[in-house]
């Protein structure tokens, strides 16, 4: 309960301190960042157990003001679920960057920005006020723009500029939407908004705000009509940042915000769900087809990311409890295996200096850990049975068929076949076949990088167990309930507030 503000305080404080004191000791920033993210991970684990014992959301009143006036921090089951994913990936990534970022100068700034981005994402997740969500959204975005440009090469700057220009327009749409919403409902608190809007009934202003929010958050999520920035930004960023962007940033800033705002505040209606399903299906196929033609590993994974996010959107769009469960499970899985894949491609680049599939080959003997972990990740992402990706895709396809959207189900299966084909291409070109001469002296990457990849691959391997009722009752089921209950969210929050 008292711990909630720590999700924001800790990373921000660490970021300020690193930029102030980081120069004194050589390993200070490494240790600080790794330990802070580890503490956050532990706190988020504690939160998820704590919240399940009491069912109702936890609310922290910042400054002691009652919510419609002040800013509440709200942690409910969905938030706890997302917090766990975000902080876990952040911990793994910060372990990985200790060695990887040695290639670059100004490691201090990297860690500062990284922690600011983490703080921004946590802020978005725990926020219970829509403008507050925007502020932290912007914090995470600005840190991520700078991190994409971190390498300072021409291509990287170009990608970052493209990302930033699109992101800035998206933020403006969101802010405009918030302004309209405020004028209409005269409140900014999410629970309060939800009640006011349902009392008002349908309203043209609210529809317009919905369109603005889909445009704005859609740009951050990179669903298909707005995906132009993604395929440039992911390859341009340093590998740990690509892993963060693909694994958690698009999800916490994009998908989380969309579901929180539309499911819990506006309330869903069939036309919105149909739009989501259509966008999701479009993303699956377009992303998959574009990924097939790539020779750059990171670019291939970037397009693959679009396609996998499409599954999540499709699952959410089905709107049945099964579909939402599948979507959330796939969100968890995708964070794990896509981060792992980006870390793998970073490891390959670290060892060989190239990402081009045509120049790679036969690395299996030189880099056994990378090869095996990436094999696991590829199998997980393509949905091969014992791995976690299989179960979530199966759930989504089942949900499609059960709710009579057989077309979309077939569409999802086609997307899955596409996924298998481009990951086979990746595996064959990178790890099998003859070893090119230039790569004779490739070595396995340092220990910490290996360790982080191994941890993630174990999670991928055991991820299917989340389906077991014992774990699922703690993890995905309660998160699903938050979305299924829809606008009851506000009643719950006011119930908690009135109890005190």
């Amino acid at each position: 309960m008292k711990l909630i503000p720590l999700f924001v305080i800790l990373p921000l404080a660490a970021a300020f301190l690193i930029s102030l004191l980081g120069k004194q000791k050589r390993f200070f920033c490494d240790i600080a960042s790794a330990s802070i993210t580890f503490i956050l991970f532990v706190i988020s684990l504690a939160t998820i157990f704590n919240i399940n014992s009491q069912i109702l959301p936890m609310i922290y009143k910042v400054g002691g003001w009652l919510p419609p006036m002040g800013l509440p921090l709200v942690v409910d089951n969905l938030t706890a679920f997302m917090l766990l994913i975000v902080n876990f990936i952040a911990f793994i990534v910060s372990l990985y960057s200790i060695n990887y970022m040695e290639k670059f100068t100004a490691k201090l700034k990297f860690y500062t920005l990284f922690l600011l981005m983490l703080g921004g994402m946590n802020g978005v997740l725990i926020s219970g006020d829509i403008f507050n969500l925007y502020v932290f959204f912007e914090l995470a975005s600005i840190a991520s723009y700078a991190l994409v440009a971190y390498g300072n090469k021409a291509e990287e700057l170009e990608a970052a500029f493209k990302y930033m220009a699109m992101g800035a327009v998206g933020s403006l749409f969101i802010l405009l939407g918030i302004a309209f919403l405020y004028s209409n409902a005269s409140t900014l608190n999410m629970a309060d908004l939800s009640q006011v809007l349902s009392a008002q009934g349908t309203n043209k202003a609210v529809t317009f705000v919905g369109i603005l929010f889909i445009l704005g958050f859609g740009i951050k999520t990179a669903i298909v009509p707005f995906h132009a920035w993604l395929a440039d930004a992911y390859p341009a960023a340093p590998a740990p940042i690509s892993a963060m962007l693909a694994g958690v940033v698009t999800k916490s800033l994009g998908i989380y915000s969309i579901v929180r705002i539309f499911f819990n505040i506006f309330g869903v209606n069939p036309s919105f769900l149909n739009l989501l399903m259509f966008l999701g299906a479009l993303s699956i196929i377009v992303g998959g087809l574009l990924a097939l033609g790539q020779t750059d590993t990171k670019r291939m994974f970037a397009y693959s990311s679009i396609s996998q996010v499409g599954y999540i959107i499709l699952g959410l769009g089905i709107g049945t409890p099964l579909g939402i469960l599948g979507a959330l499970f796939h969100l968890f899985n995708h964070s794990m295996f896509k981060s792992l894949l980006f870390l793998n491609s970073g490891a390959i680049e670290y060892a060989t200096g190239t990402r081009n599939l045509e120049k790679l080959g036969g690395l299996r003997e030189k880099m056994p850990v990378t090869a095996n972990t990436s094999l696991i990740a590829s199998m997980a992402v393509s949905g091969i049975p014992p791995f976690n990706g299989f179960f979530s895709k199966l759930l989504i396809i089942f949900a499609c068929i059960k709710s009579n959207h057989i077309g979309y189900g077939i569409w999802a299966i086609v997307g899955s076949v596409l996924t298998i084909s481009y990951f086979m291409k990746f595996q064959k070109n990178a790890f099998f076949g003859p070893l090119p001469k230039e790569l004779k002296d490739a070595k396995e990457v340092p220990f910490l990088m290996q360790a982080s990849m191994i941890i993630l691959s174990i999670v991928c391997l055991l991820g299917g167990m989340v389906m077991l009722p014992k774990i699922s009752n703690y993890f995905t089921e309660p998160a699903k309930t938050v979305l299924v209950q829809g606008k009851d969210y506000s009643n719950l929050i006011f119930k908690v507030l009135n109890e005190k």
């Binding site: 723009y145 970052a160 930033m164 302004a179 405020y182």
Partner: protein
């Protein structure tokens, strides 16, 4: 009418972002859009015959403009400055690398 003019201002900015080739012009478009959004917030706060949201020692509170959107606009002005600064920084680095502000010539990337 006032609201609509403000929306027109936003569209002018959007037009510049979408149609201009020069990076500086794109940044100018984003700045104009920021103006429009901040202005929207303040317009929504205005109360006819209201006073600014400052108390004065001898006066009772009668009508005041809504202080909350003004506080939000203050926040968003500063965020806008941060965005602009970072965009300009990137634009200048791009100019160094490519020697031009033309986005059709800055195209080393495929996507």
């Amino acid at each position: 009418m006032t609201y609509f003019l403000c929306l027109v201002l936003f569209c002018v900015g959007l037009y510049a972002i979408v149609r201009k080739r020069n990076i500086i012009k794109i940044i100018i478009g984003i700045v104009i859009c920021e103006y429009a959004v901040n202005l929207f917030l303040v317009l929504f706060a205005y109360k006819i015959n209201g006073r600014s949201p400052l108390y004065s020692p001898d006066q009772e509170i009668t009508t005041m403009a809504d202080p909350l959107p003004q506080a939000l606009a203050l926040t968003s002005i500063v965020i806008g400055l941060a965005t602009t600064a970072l965009l300009v920084g990137m634009a200048i680095r791009l100019y160094e690398k490519y020697g031009t502000f033309d986005i059709t010539k800055i195209n080393h990337l495929k996507g």
